[in-house]
Symmetry: C2
Subunit: 362 residues, 2 copies
């Protein structure tokens, strides 16, 4: 079964010099993948030639004349750059030409464009960003939302829990993945009103057998792997994600600097180079690259803007796996079974940016 | 100049078996310290005897008949256990017999008891928990609030910034420590309404030369040491603190397990044992033990409940340094110069628990 993925090749800090080598490597390793490379044709073509991949049967180019930069305001991405590689790549899903899309571009712009082009799944008020964090158990802790929604109401966190649960049950093949609600204590009385009301909704779902709600979890539980999914608002999630990246880099630097501190330690490092290499790999955030934008009528994945080809390829792999496991249908089915469809709430109004010239789709 | 510190010797997971050895070690290293050991006299006496310190001229015991356990609800700590070691230790500050107090007991109970006994500084609506996080620059990032206030208004975050700034300028002898506001992006338009309004208050202070406001910071900035102080609400702060502890343990385990994975790596570990020991020390959270409860009319420090004697001694050191640098007067002066005193807002009502039998002090 062929899976078609559209790639915004111009996005991220490095553009085609990273996205094209990643695409070529991925398509060579994955015989079921077909990749549509979107962006400035000349630049993409030149990169492909360098890698001797310009005639690859499962790579095609779709030309797009504009590029959304990391600094572009949402309005520019949405209203002015209608022929951006990002928008064209996302639109290929809508047109049925791709099953998933990957971009390393500006997260806010990618969310706004995806939401505008694809709309949300009926029953989902707000899409969320979901990311697999590493943990002690060596199976990821899927955390959402990681920054799409700074203020959340209980029903939003409730929807995040349902979407996360559908994603993990599809991707990790767990029938009843556990859901934890991020809080500042395990007891029911802890936390703010939003968290307490969310817990009540999740408990009700648990009693109805819809969700495997574990209860409140704390910050440390993310890395202990206490639950498969951790639900939080986008403010908290984004801060935790970035703090973890910062702490990881800090600790990695400590390890590096200590082993270089004197000749004896350097000798030890040479002898135990296998251990150090393995530590470096396990602490490498690229292995966890690729966040899902959940709740849209299409699979969109965001790669970290600063990632190299190795990291970008991980994001491609995640998109491929999600399409292969039919994550979209599973999320839609889960939400549809529980929520009354609210056609009116989906779409452009809720991104805070409207585009009057384009027709609104259903 | 002698600094007197009262110690709740019964608090924490281990009680006198940890607090007494820490106290004895600290008093032996610090000739200007005088420690008042509060708790069950027989238990404290027995531990002192074990260490041959029962006649130490700068150690005294104050008997308290009750103990606040880690599981006691706030009401129990506040209303029922009036002769708890925690409450008696805090009261010694109020009575002018100690300049600072240290407890490893339940954080919520310690905050409620301290707030009830000591009251807040005029102009401070809510006390906050402040903790020095390690960073790349090897000078701590002071972060507050870390869990006392789950919902904050802009004026609360504003007060946290002022208190944190006064604390750091006293402790670290920096005249103009930098203040960052934790957010999900550096741009002014990022974040929720509370954060945006707080930024406006902090910018105004900056323009008046009262505060050195850096602007918004992100999660990674905590560990990069971008600013001396990072201000956030207690929900976010608590989650970040616990997530960091969890990630730190996780990464430490990776280092350990890789060096034990085969005989060659083990040999390397033996040769580079100096590096590994140093890594372990630098990754040891005990070095950073001791959180300040800021905004009270007295210096109260909280040690992590699970710490050993080494960690508890760090908390004693922090309390000693704060008293020595007259942190309390500096915070009170800073706040008094900026805020109109609000006598009515301080005290017991705001803890959510009232104690009708005890007279209210000014």
């Amino acid at each position: 079964m062929t899976i078609k993925i559209s790639i915004d090749c111009m996005g991220g800090d490095h553009g085609p010099s990273v996205t094209i080598p990643a695409a070529v490597s991925f398509v060579n390793h994955e015989p079921d993948a077909e990749l549509i490379l979107v962006g400035l044709e000349a630049e993409i073509g030149a990169e492909l030639k360098k890698l001797n991949a310009h005639n690859h049967p499962r790579l095609s180019i779709v030309h797009a004349t504009e590029v959304v930069t990391m600094d572009d305001p949402l309005e520019v991405a949405l209203r002015r750059k209608k022929d951006s590689s990002m928008r064209v790549a996302v639109s290929l899903i809508k047109e049925g030409k791709a099953q998933a899309c990957v971009s390393a571009g500006n997260t806010g712009a990618l969310m706004a464009v995806s939401r505008y082009v694809l709309k949300t799944i009926p029953g989902v008020d707000r899409p969320a960003i979901c990311f697999p964090m590493p943990n002690q158990k060596d199976s990821p802790t899927y955390m959402l939302d990681l920054g799409a929604n700074v203020d959340c109401e209980p029903q939003h966190l409730h929807q995040f829990a349902l979407m996360g649960s559908a994603l993990v049950s599809a991707l990790e093949e767990k029938t009843k993945p556990t859901v934890g609600l991020l809080n500042i204590g395990e007891e029911d009385i802890k936390g703010n009103e939003v968290v307490k009301q969310t817990a009540a909704l999740l408990r009700a779902d648990h009693e109805r057998g819809i969700l495997n709600f574990y209860g409140n979890v704390e910050g440390n539980d993310i890395f202990e792997g206490t639950t498969d999914i951790v639900v939080c608002d986008g403010f908290v999630g984004n801060v935790v994600l970035k703090a973890s990246e910062g702490l990881g880099r800090f600790l990695k630097n400590i390890v590096k600097s200590e082993f270089k501190s004197n000749p004896i330690n350097m000798l030890g490092a040479i002898i135990a180079q296998g251990a150090l290499k393995s530590i470096s790999q396990r602490m490498n955030p690229s292995r966890y690259n690729g966040a899902s934008l959940l709740g849209l009528r299409g699979l969109v994945f965001k790669s970290h803007g600063g990632e190299d080809a190795f990291g970008f390829e991980w994001a491609l792999k995640r998109a491929f796996d999600a399409a292969k496991h039919d994550v979209l249908a599973k999320i839609s089915t889960t939400i549809a079974a529980l929520m009354p469809a609210q056609e009116g709430t989906a779409g452009a109004e809720s991104t805070g940016v409207t585009e009057p010239t384009q027709q609104k789709s259903a």
